[in-house]
């Protein structure tokens, strides 16, 4: 009888569904340094809470994912101009205020360095290590003339608003930053 009791116990265990992870969705719509920072702080912390975190990069936010060596991108002259004036990458983000033609972000980064605040680039790498999903917005890629090769490695497949809404409908936390 003890043998069958053990079998019953095993069967019950096998039927239990694997608990699904709680979900967090962040919409990164800004290319400002002061917005990119909280995006990655919250993304990494959500992952530390065992959540399945997805960050959807759209409009100016997509620039954060540009490769440093992407150079001038796009086919259209307006897209090319855009890539010159909106260099993006984690290194060329502007401050939404007190930018002072780039002096502001430099001073802010120096302060962050002094106070051992992890940089956006460091946090992006931590996020990737922790399995945070990074989704580039397909429409923004088309609009700005950015191909998959112009973006950093380790991203998820480009997606659209529908995918973002489907995910947000199931998510415990959804934020537009």
């Amino acid at each position: 009888m003890t043998g069958s009791a053990a079998e019953v116990f095993e069967d019950t265990r096998a039927e239990q569904p694997v608990p699904e992870k709680e979900k967090m969705v962040l919409i990164a719509a800004s290319g400002d340094l002061d917005k990119a920072w909280p995006v990655f702080i919250l993304a990494t912390t959500g992952a530390a809470y065992g959540m399945e975190v997805t960050v959807f990069f759209t409009f100016w936010g997509l620039g954060i994912l540009k490769r440093p060596d992407a150079g001038i991108t796009g086919d259209d002259w307006r897209q090319k101009m855009l890539s010159v004036f909106n260099r993006g990458t984690t290194e060329h983000l502007h401050l939404s205020k007190l930018n002072f033609a780039g002096m502001g972000p430099k001073m802010m980064k120096d302060l962050a360095d002094k106070h051992k605040v992890a940089s956006v680039q460091e946090l992006l790498e931590v996020a990737q290590d922790m399995g945070v999903k990074l989704w580039p917005c397909q429409m923004t890629m088309d609009l700005m003339g950015l191909s998959r090769e112009d973006l950093i490695d380790g991203l998820d497949e480009p997606a659209g608003a529908g995918s973002a809404i489907s995910l947000m409908k199931q998510a415990e936390i959804s934020l537009f930053i």
Binding site: T45, A48, A118, V126
Partner: protein, 74 residues
């Protein structure tokens, strides 16, 4: 004696919690993990994280301006 020490001294939010979570994930059930942090925010963040994640915060104390948290992996 703790099984694992996470030295997050000098690091700012969110890194102490990130490093703690990684250490807890890598630890075996029942093992102790001690986090040492100089970020004052850890004093509220670590208990919140432990409570939410179902991990036991066995001990929390301040020594020489550093914050110590001893957790037991569930």
């Amino acid at each position: 004696m703790t099984d694992h020490i996470v030295d997050a001294r000098g690091l700012q939010c969110p890194m102490p919690v990130i490093k703690l979570s990684q250490a807890i994930m890598a630890a075996q059930s029942g093992e102790t993990v001690e986090l040492i942090s100089t970020d004052r925010g850890s004093c509220s963040d670590v208990p919140s994280w432990a409570n939410d994640m179902g991990q036991t915060l066995k001990e929390q104390f301040e020594k020489d301006g550093e914050f110590h948290f001893v957790l037991v992996k569930s």
